[in-house]
């Protein structure tokens, strides 16, 4: 039985090249119309995963289905349902933007390609540059064209391999908006990224990949919860006040930064603790220049999870079992 609301299901997927193991039995599912981010650093296995899912590579073990079709046994059906936008913008520099889109339209055997091409040029703000050779395009324009090429023929699932790597901040934000719009229009988006804020911004579900294993999986909020302690930052007007505040809060786990007249207090994130701290300062008559609550970032979550994993590693080593 396969659930009709599942776009991608991966189970026990493993891949190695010669003696190097790249993926060690990963599992995940992606709901239709959602954005799924595979987060990891370089060499963690992200691109290998995307290549297997887009039928470019065959796995050694396990299985993967896209819209119910098996990537190994029904690659043609999978290819009809997907589009892949690789790490380097896979556009043809010699052709114009319009010619690039028409090329894909012809290869997808679309009956009314020209109309779709015009609509995509407009939607991705490429109408003006449409008849210029792609060699003259900026990095952001190339990525937009690349993505537009991937949308011809209405794929159900779009794979984006590091869609914003190397883009300037402005283009990055434009790309984020485009990706969110894709999901709103019902397309399932599977993206890889090394940027935690990107996964946080875009994804409904995040899986963190490290050395070929998925070390954590969940919504951005769930992953943040893996870090139980948030902290607060309090800045004072002078050094003397900082010192007295430190004494006042000595039962808390706190760091002192006399140079910036700041105390960073680790808390359990509860309102009760925070108001306790503020009340003590108020009662002692120590004025507060600035007060900020710092929520744990995905980066914190990432680092915590990885270090927890590494501490657990000896138990997983088959030699010690």
């Amino acid at each position: 039985m396969r659930r009709t609301d599942t776009a991608i299901s991966v189970s026990a997927l493993a891949k190695s090249f010669k003696n190097v193991t790249v993926l060690r039995k990963i599992d995940f599912t992606v709901q239709k119309g959602s954005i799924f981010a595979l987060l990891g650093s370089n060499g963690s296995g992200k691109t290998t995963t995307i290549k297997i899912l887009s039928t470019l590579l065959k796995p050694n073990q396990g299985s993967a289905r896209i819209c119910g079709f098996d990537v190994v046994r029904q690659p043609e059906r999978v290819r009809e349902a997907i589009s892949l936008t690789g790490q380097n913008a896979a556009v043809d520099n010699v052709l114009t933007g319009r010619e690039n889109l028409r090329l894909i339209g012809k290869l997808r055997h679309l009956s009314d390609a020209n109309k779709e091409v015009d609509a995509l040029l407009e939607r991705f703000d490429l109408l003006e540059a449409a008849d210029r050779r792609v060699a003259t395009y900026s990095g952001g324009m190339r990525r937009r064209l690349d993505l537009a090429m991937g949308l011809l023929g209405n794929p159900s699932v779009v794979f984006l391999d590091e869609p914003t790597t190397g883009l300037d901040p402005q283009s990055r934000i434009t790309m984020w908006k485009i990706i969110k719009d894709l999901a709103h229009s019902g397309i399932t988006v599977f993206l890889t990224t090394q940027y935690l804020d990107e996964a946080d911004q875009l994804a409904d579900q995040i899986a963190i990949l490290n050395e070929g294993r998925i070390v954590a999986q969940g919504t951005p909020a769930e992953l943040k919860k893996l870090l139980p302690h948030g902290h607060i930052e309090i800045r004072f007007f002078n050094e003397q006040e900082v010192q007295s505040a430190r004494v006042l809060l000595q039962d808390f786990d706190a760091d002192l930064d006399t140079e910036n007249q700041t105390i960073t207090v680790n808390t359990d994130g509860s309102i009760r603790q925070m108001s306790d701290i503020l009340n003590r300062l108020e009662d002692a008559g120590i004025p507060v220049a600035e007060f900020a609550q710092k929520l744990p970032t995905l980066e914190d979550a990432f680092l915590t999870i990885i270090s927890k994993r590494e501490r657990m590693m000896p138990n997983e080593n088959p030699l010690t079992n």
Partner: protein, 258 residues
């Protein structure tokens, strides 16, 4: 009916791929200079500068040298297949094509078909120019058809060699390197001077490598002379090399994309 539409679809994929690469060829000034202008310059050089010093018996030197110039144009023209293929592999557009529901063989097929069409086009231009400056072939229609056949076979052979090197090359510069080897073969053959004029070892090499029978066959056909067993030798050389490199190229391609 379903099979028929499948065939049509597959043919259309190869045509679309080929159309793309043809655009690359015709939009590249560099390609046009190398493939059309260079052979014409060589022809002028050999015809008017060096030709006077060459002893080719009763045959006018321009008439003598045209087949060699044509093969030179084809050898340097097919090298672009390697370059374009290498660019496609390294630019990642191959991954895009491979993730699409298209005929897989159309990806290499497009490059091969383009190479055939483009090199026939450029060879025709070079031939036309040769006629303009005084080349006077005496071939009948049947002989011309055979000449075109030999040119096509040579182009196809060189294209598969080129595709193999394009797939193997680690840099764009390296992709076209084989063309120089082919040009050396061409210079040490009967393309520009009769082999009888060469010293012993060089002559032996010149007479037993694939270029000489190819050149002799084309020259005999164009000048309406007896071909002898050169035609058979030329075809055997080409077909043998073509099959070997076709197998090599498709195996490397399979290995690269599996």
């Amino acid at each position: 009916m379903k099979i028929l539409s499948q065939i049509k679809r597959n043919f259309s994929d190869t045509a679309v791929m080929s159309g793309r690469v043809l655009r690359h060829a015709f939009r590249s000034i560099d390609t046009l200079i190398t493939v059309v202008a260079m052979p014409i310059v060589m022809m002028l050089l050999f015809g008017y500068v060096l030709g006077g010093a060459m002893n080719t018996g009763s045959v006018n030197y321009l008439n003598y040298v045209v087949p060699g110039i044509i093969l030179y144009a084809i050898a340097s023209g097919t090298a672009y297949a390697a370059l374009r293929l290498h660019n496609d592999v390294s630019a990642g557009i191959f991954d895009r094509f491979h993730s699409m529901p298209i005929l897989k063989s159309s990806i290499l097929g497009g490059h091969v078909l383009t190479s055939l069409v483009f090199n026939m086009f450029s060879a025709a231009l070079v031939l036309l120019f040769a006629v303009l400056i005084g080349f006077r072939p005496e071939a009948g229609i049947a002989a011309w058809l055979l000449v075109v056949g030999i040119m096509l076979l040579f182009t196809l052979t060189m294209t598969w060699v080129s595709v193999t090197f394009g797939l193997l090359a680690s840099s764009a510069e390296g992709a076209g390197v084989f063309a120089y080897l082919v040009l050396v073969l061409l210079f040490i053959s009967s393309a520009f001077a009769p082999t009888e004029s060469m010293p012993g070892i060089v002559r032996a090499f010149a007479e037993h490598q694939p270029m000489t029978p190819l050149i002799e066959t084309m020259r005999s056909l164009l000048l309406n002379k007896s071909v002898g067993n050169n035609a058979l030798l030329a075809v055997i050389w080409c077909v043998g090399i073509c099959i070997a490199f076709y197998i090599a190229a498709t195996q490397i391609y399979k290995h690269k994309t599996a």
